[in-house]
Each structure stands twice: as C-alpha cells, then as structure tokens.
C-alpha cells in the first residue's frame, strides 16, 4: 500500500473519527465570542512550544503555505490531541476533557519548484453547556428548574494551496481557506415532571472564504525563516432551520513569523510569534487583539536501534481573543504552557511519529477564570522528510 493510497484512507479515517467539525469541549473559554481558537499543529510543533513555521525544509506546516516547497514526494501529516483541564471559576471547580484531530494535511511536489497541498484544520471550538439551577414559585409549589444553554459544534477550514520556489531555498506560497463546520445551540428551561419542557434549538452551517500567503527561506538543514499573513475574510453562519438568523463575522488579519537554526550538531532551536487584529475586526464580539510567542528546542542526538529519537522542549505564551464571561470582558485572558515531546524517525526518515505533552494554564487573576490543562498530542508524518 503506497502513501498516495494511504492519504485518502487517512482522510476518511479522520472524518469517521470525528474530525474538525465534531471537536468537543476543550476549554471554558469556548463559551464567549466565536469560541476557543484552535491552531492546527502536529505533535512536533506542540512539543517545541507551538512553533509552527520556519522549520528547515521539507516540513509541510499549516501555518505557512510556502512550506510546501522542496517536498520530496507526496506526503501527509495527521495530528491528534487529547485535553484534560481543571477550571476554577469563582470557587467552583469544573473538570473536562476532549479529543480531536486538529490537523490533517497532505502535499505533493509538482516538478522541481512547485508544490501543492490540501488539508483540514480546526479554527474554533464551540462546545459548552451552561446550567443555572433555580426555583420557581408556581401556585403554592416551589418547583426546581434548570436553565440550560448548550452549544455543540465548531468551525473548521479546508485549505488548498501551493508554493513556488522562486530561487534556491526561497519559496512563496498561497492558500485559500474554505470555512466549514456547523453548530447547534439548544436553550431552555427544564422543569421536573409533570411539567413540560421544550428546549428551543437552532443550528447553523458555516461557510466563507479566507486567504493566506507566506514566504519561506530554508538554505538547508541548518535552519530556516518563514512568515505568513492571513486574511480571515468572512465567516458566514447560515441558519439551517426556518427563521434562524444568519450571522457574519469578519475574521481578522493575522501575521505569523518564525525561524529556526542549528546550535551545534544535534540541537535545533526555533522561535515564532503571531499577532491578530481581533479588537478592530470583531468589536461586537468583545474581541481582544491576540499575540503569541513560542520557543522550543529539538535535540536529535539520540538513536534507538539506529532510529533517531528527537527529544523536544518548549514554552509558549499567548493572549486569547475572547474572555470567558461578559463580566470579565474587560480583561483579556492569557494562556501559557510548557511542553515536552519526542519523536521516532523510521524508514530512513520517510515516517516520523511524534508525541507531545503540554502543561499549562489559561485565564489569570483578572479574567475571572483560572484553568489548568494537560494536552497530549500524537501525530504521524509520512514522507515529510
């Protein structure tokens, strides 16, 4: 079975297992705005503090379409993440966990200078449930009720694009994001029997288009520099049922840049940063401008049975676009994490399996919520290097 056969199989398996449109609750911060933002990353990137671009070629990454240059053969990468979190909200402790495929991407060279890619990636996770138990006085009876609002779904994106190597080691790339996914919201007051309850529901399908462009310079295995700009375009939410209001959101302009370089024979150090203009483009959602800084290192001096086993460490800090509560909307929540990771390079570099662990927290004293989390990442990259 060849990789070009495996690619569609992996795509189908990912969809079956619940790929981006069915991502589950990852954070309490998903309740506000458009939800919790999810950057598609593989476990190598996650293990290096989330550095997502600027790796030496060939390393196809979601963040930079120009990374599709110098591909050796058709290849793909599939990533899986599992999260556990404990949140402290005003003295209440809430636990949760979720699993998702944040990244599924494949690319193929077309001649010596051209490369194409396609993939699915997550964008926003919108799974949450809010409950408010209360008591109503009906006649002479005190009736316990629960007000409940749930959201199930999320926004994903299907990306198509290509890259061109304009001079040796320098490429430019362009991609089009087709937004996809759906969300169902159910809300209502739940009464105990014999009272009747009939929660109201509405669902939307997401659509729209965004664009991304990037540049990548990788003079060789010693290092690389990359940068990308994302024009979010318009995310449209079309009501599925009659009388469900449509909605439109202007997704923000985003910039990302990253670089990596070898320090010694076996150590690769990588740094990246990003910025998005949420406050201007989504003022109605109470969005904050976001930024993030990522740094990590990879040591590939270890081998097991002649197979390289790269070890990784990293850290990241970021600001999230939406607060967790309207009451805490004045403060932007932040997210910080330390990460560890390892890989196993097989088949002479044609197959690389990676895993990662993130230990972090979100929120902060002024955000109204403190959420600690552990994220496990697993990914497989075939013929990527």
């Amino acid at each position: 079975m060849r990789p070009r056969v495996l690619l569609p199989l992996a795509l189908a398996a990912s969809v079956w297992a619940g790929a981006p449109s069915t991502v589950a609750g990852q954070s309490l911060f998903a309740t506000q705005g458009l939800g919790y933002p999810l950057e598609p990353r593989d476990a190598r990137s996650q293990g290096m503090g989330g550095v997502n671009l600027g790796f030496p070629s060939p390393e196809l990454t979601w963040a930079n379409p120009a990374s599709a240059i110098n591909l050796l053969a058709p290849n793909f990468v599939i990533g899986y993440q599992h999260d556990r979190y404990d949140a402290d909200a005003g003295g209440l402790t809430i636990e949760g966990r979720s699993a998702r495929f944040p990244l599924l991407m494949g690319g193929a060279p077309a001649g010596e200078r051209l490369g194409f890619f396609a993939g699915f990636g997550t964008l926003f996770e919108q799974n949450w449930l809010v409950e408010n138990p209360d008591t109503l006085l009906i006649g002479a009876d005190s009736v316990p009720i629960v007000d409940r609002a749930t959201s199930t779904g999320g926004v994903g994106r299907f990306r198509l694009g290509g890259a061109y190597e304009i001079v040796e080691g320098v490429g430019v790339g362009f991609g089009v994001d087709l937004y996809t996914g759906s969300v169902e919201r159910i809300q209502g007051r739940v009464f105990p029997p014999p009272f009747g309850s009939q929660p109201q529901s509405a669902s939307w399908r997401y659509g729209g288009r965004g664009y991304t462009a990037g540049v990548h310079w990788s003079p060789g295995p010693e290092g690389a520099v990359g940068a990308a700009v994302t024009f979010g375009g318009t995310l449209r939410a079309s009501g599925v049922e009659e009388n469900v209001e449509d909605a439109e959101y202007d997704l923000p302009l985003g910039l990302q840049a990253g670089a990596s370089g070898r320090v010694g024979a076996n150590m690769l150090v990588a740094l990246s940063g990003s910025w998005s203009r949420w406050s201007e483009d989504q003022e109605a959602l109470g969005g904050f401008d976001t930024w993030s800084i990522h740094g990590g290192a990879e040591w590939d001096g270890l081998t097991v049975r002649d197979r390289p086993v790269p070890l990784r460490v990293g850290a990241r800090t970021a600001r999230l676009p939406f607060g967790w509560s309207p009451l805490a909307a004045a403060e932007a929540p932040s997210e910080r994490a330390l990460s560890l990771g390892a890989g196993l390079v097989m088949a002479g570099g044609a197959v690389r399996s990676d895993l990662s662990f993130d230990f972090g927290n979100r929120g902060g004293a002024d955000a109204g919520l403190d959420e600690s989390f552990v994220r496990f990442g697993l990914s497989v990259r075939v013929l990527g290097r």
């Binding site: 060849r2 990789p3 495996l6 297992a17 589950a24 609750g25 309490l28 998903a30 309740t31 506000q32 705005g33 899986y80 599992h82 909200a89 005003g90 209440l92 809430i94 949760g96 966990r97 979720s98 699993a99 799974n127 949450w128 809010v130 409950e131 408010n132 138990p133 209360d134 009906i138 006649g139 009720i145 007000d147 609002a149 199930t152 919201r185 809300q187 209502g188 007051r189 009464f191 014999p194 009272f195 009747g196 309850s197 109201q200 509405a202 939307w204 209001e245 909605a247 509560s325 309207p326 009451l327 097989m346 088949a347 002479g348 044609a350 197959v351 399996s353 697993l378 497989v380 075939v382």
Partner: protein, 421 residues
C-alpha cells in the same frame, strides 16, 4: 524502503485511531446565570384565565352505578349526623346430605360457624377504631333492596324496620387500624349453632352488619360464611364455605344531587363535562398590567403546564369521600353530542385529598390538562372538551363536588430562538 514504511505506518495509524476512539468527550459545564449568552435566560409566566373567558359549557351528568357495582359494602351510623348504611348478606344453599366414606349422612348437625369480612388498606373508614355489630335479619331481601324496601325479588315489600329488620343480636367486633399489622385486617364473628341452623333452615333470612357508634362510616369487603358440620356417622367436624346468594348495602338518605355544582364520582359515578375555548393569545411578560408588553400567540409559547382549577365544595349528608379520590380526566370526543359524547383517551389522573370536601377552607384543586391543550394547539383546534370522572366506575362511595366556576391556569415559558453572538 516503501514496504518498510508501510509496515510501520499501519500500527501508527491504528494507535492514533485507537487513542482517538477510546476517549470520551465531556461537555464543559458552567454553573451560573451570569454566564448565559445574552437573552438566553428564559422567562416563565403564570397566567390565569377567568371562567367567563374560556368556559363554553360545563355540566354534570348522573351516573348509573349503585351498591352492586362495587366490591365492597358500606356501613354507617348517623355519619355527619345524617347517613345510615347497613350491610346485608344472604347465604345458601346449605348442604342437606354429607357424602362420607362411611356412607351418606342426612342427620348431621351444625356446630357453629364464622362470618368473615375485612377492611383492607384500600378501603376507607371514618376513624381508626370502630365497633361493628352483627345481627340476624328477620325479613328476606334481595340485591335490589333499599333502606325502605326489601327488594323486588322478594315481593317488593317494605322493611318492618327501615334499613333491615333486626332479629337476634349475634355479636360485636371491635376493629382497630393498629391491629391490622398484628392480626390482619379481618373482622370475624363466631356464630353459634342456632344461628347457623337458622340460616340453613331459612328461619333467619340473612345477616346484617351495622356500626355501633354514631358519626361513623366504613367500607368492608363482601362477607364470607364458613360453617362447622358435625356428621352423625363420624366423630369429626367438617368445615364448609357457604356461598353467598345476595350481598348489598342499604342506606339513607339518597345521595344529594345539587344541580348548581360540578359533581364527580361517588356511589352513582357522576361525571362532569367541560368545553374550554383556548385563548389565542397570552401575555408576553409576567406582569402585563404594569408593563405594556403585548401578547404572544398561545401556540408559540413553551407550555410547561396547563391546569383546570376547581374550588371544592363540602359534600353533605355523609356522602363525602373518606379517602383520596382518583379523578380521571378524559378527552371528550364529539362534545356537540352533549351527554352522549363518547369518551376519549385519558388526559391525566389526579388524586384529590378527602379533606378538600370537608370544609371550604382549602384552596382550589388543580387538574393538569397540559397534554390535551398541547395536542389541541398542535392540531390547530380552538377548543378542548374534557370529561371528569372517577375510574374505575363505581369504585368510590364518596362524591366530589366543585363550584361551577373553573379557572384555567397557564404556566409557560416565552420562546427563545437561540442566536449566535
């Protein structure tokens, strides 16, 4: 190289999918109304509709059941100062020949017997301690007997003493509810041989149970008679159960039937029919008097509960229920047929405390009719017709009465179509 990579790719993908499918997602759950999306906190409203605004018609119909339709008998002594009731029983045939292994015996004698009845937990009594008296009946009767008449099957004559002409006093039995756990809920009278002989020879025309103390009432199960027979050919005692040929109870006065009230249940199984015009609009806020908020179509709201509120009326002359009444609300099909309208499916069953019919101090009773109203709204019908009765028919002696001014109470939640931010 490709075969190697393929060999390793399979297990890697399998591990990935196994890990993914082995996980169970949990929806993050946030407690607290402050966290609800804007406008997502529901509003529940309670709204009462006056009688004149919804009642198209309401009337009660007399039932056709009587003492013979129940599996129990009523005994009362000046209950509520008025009601008397006596339980009557006749037994036979008694054996005239015993077929024994040693031969046929026609010269046997009766050594005595026992009359047994019970007050099961499901039966109602006016107090936890009652003194019952057993009498021999001096005149014959049948199951059509009334307080004044002995019954058409025995010539239609009147009792010499209304309520059953008493013969010999057989005995008294004290029943206490507290005893039921220790010795069961049975009442057992030991009958002397002369009484059994009298019953067998029809010198005694039956047995009658009365209550000793005034202002008491009880329901008892049908009576059974066991007699002890001493054969002339053997030195032994045989026990035989003698079947009952007639059991009933007679009472006085006849049940009142106030025409200006809604009547449900009772000895005669009264039923009440109501036709309700559903309001097309309901208030759009909890206090429309204080806030001009307009109305909302009834079919657009989330109906949490719709109740028919009825004010109980004290039931007179001793015919009030002693236990909880099980009022069944059925949909009335083709209500334009009036009292001949066929009954439809059950809408709700409500249990109403007997206390509601003693004094008028209590509040209204609530009959939930949410299902019928929701169904009518779903079918675009503007009217609901209901029948109120006690089921199974003829299973309760006490009547329930209500003022003919029902109210309709809606508890509903305003619709909120979810929106995206």
């Amino acid at each position: 190289m490709r075969s190697n990579q393929t060999r390793r790719l399979g297990p890697a993908l399998a591990l990935l999918l196994f890990t993914a499918t082995g996980c169970r997602d949990e929806l993050p759950t946030l407690p607290g109304g402050d966290l609800f999306p804007d406008g997502a906190l529901p509003t529940t409203i309670q709204h009462s509709v006056r009688t004149a605004d919804f009642l198209i018609a309401g009337f009660s119909l007399p039932g056709t059941t009587g003492p013979m339709d129940a599996q129990w008998l009523v005994v009362a002594n000046r209950f509520d100062g008025v009601l008397d009731a006596n339980a009557l029983a006749r037994f036979g045939p008694f054996p005239d020949t015993l077929f024994l292994t040693v031969g046929q015996d026609t010269a046997f004698t009766y050594a005595g017997g026992r009359l047994v009845t019970t007050i099961a937990d499901t039966l109602a009594t006016s107090s936890d301690q009652l003194m019952f008296t057993l009498w021999a009946l001096a005149q014959p009767f049948d199951t059509t007997a009334t307080w004044a008449q002995r019954g058409t099957g025995v010539g239609g004559g009147a009792w010499t003493t209304p309520g059953g002409t008493r013969g010999e006093l057989i005995g008294e039995e004290l029943w206490q509810r507290a005893d039921t756990a220790a010795v069961g809920d049975s009442l057992i009278w030991n009958l002397p041989p002369s009484i059994v002989e009298g019953l067998a020879s029809e010198r005694i025309h039956g047995l009658m149970v009365t209550l000793e103390d005034p202002n008491t009432r009880a329901e008892i199960t049908r009576m059974s008679l066991r007699v002890d027979i001493r054969p002339s050919l053997q030195d032994t005692v045989l026990v035989r159960t003698i079947p009952s040929t007639a059991q009933t109870y007679v009472f006085s006065p006849v049940p009142p039937r106030p025409v200006n009230l809604f009547r449900v249940g009772g000895l005669t199984s009264e039923r009440t029919y109501v036709r309700i015009a559903l309001p097309e609009q309901l208030p759009n806020c909890p206090d429309p008097a204080a806030q001009a908020c307009g109305t909302i179509p009834t079919r657009d709201v989330v109906l949490n509960r719709v109740e028919l509120l009825l004010d109980p009326v004290p039931v007179t002359q001793g015919f009030r229920p002693l236990g909880a009444s099980r009022v069944v609300i059925r949909r009335l099909l083709e209500p334009e047929l009036g009292e001949r309208a066929p009954l439809g499916p059950i809408v709700a069953v409500e249990t109403i405390s007997a206390d509601a019919f003693v004094a008028p101090a209590g509040g209204p009773v609530s009959l939930a009719i949410s299902g019928a109203v929701a169904d009518a709204l779903a079918r675009n019908r503007a009217e609901v017709a209901l029948a109120l009765q006690v089921e199974p028919i003829g299973t309760e002696f006490g009547f329930t009465w209500y003022q003919p001014n029902p109210r309709l109470r809606f508890t509903y939640t305003l619709p909120q179509r979810p929106r995206l931010p």
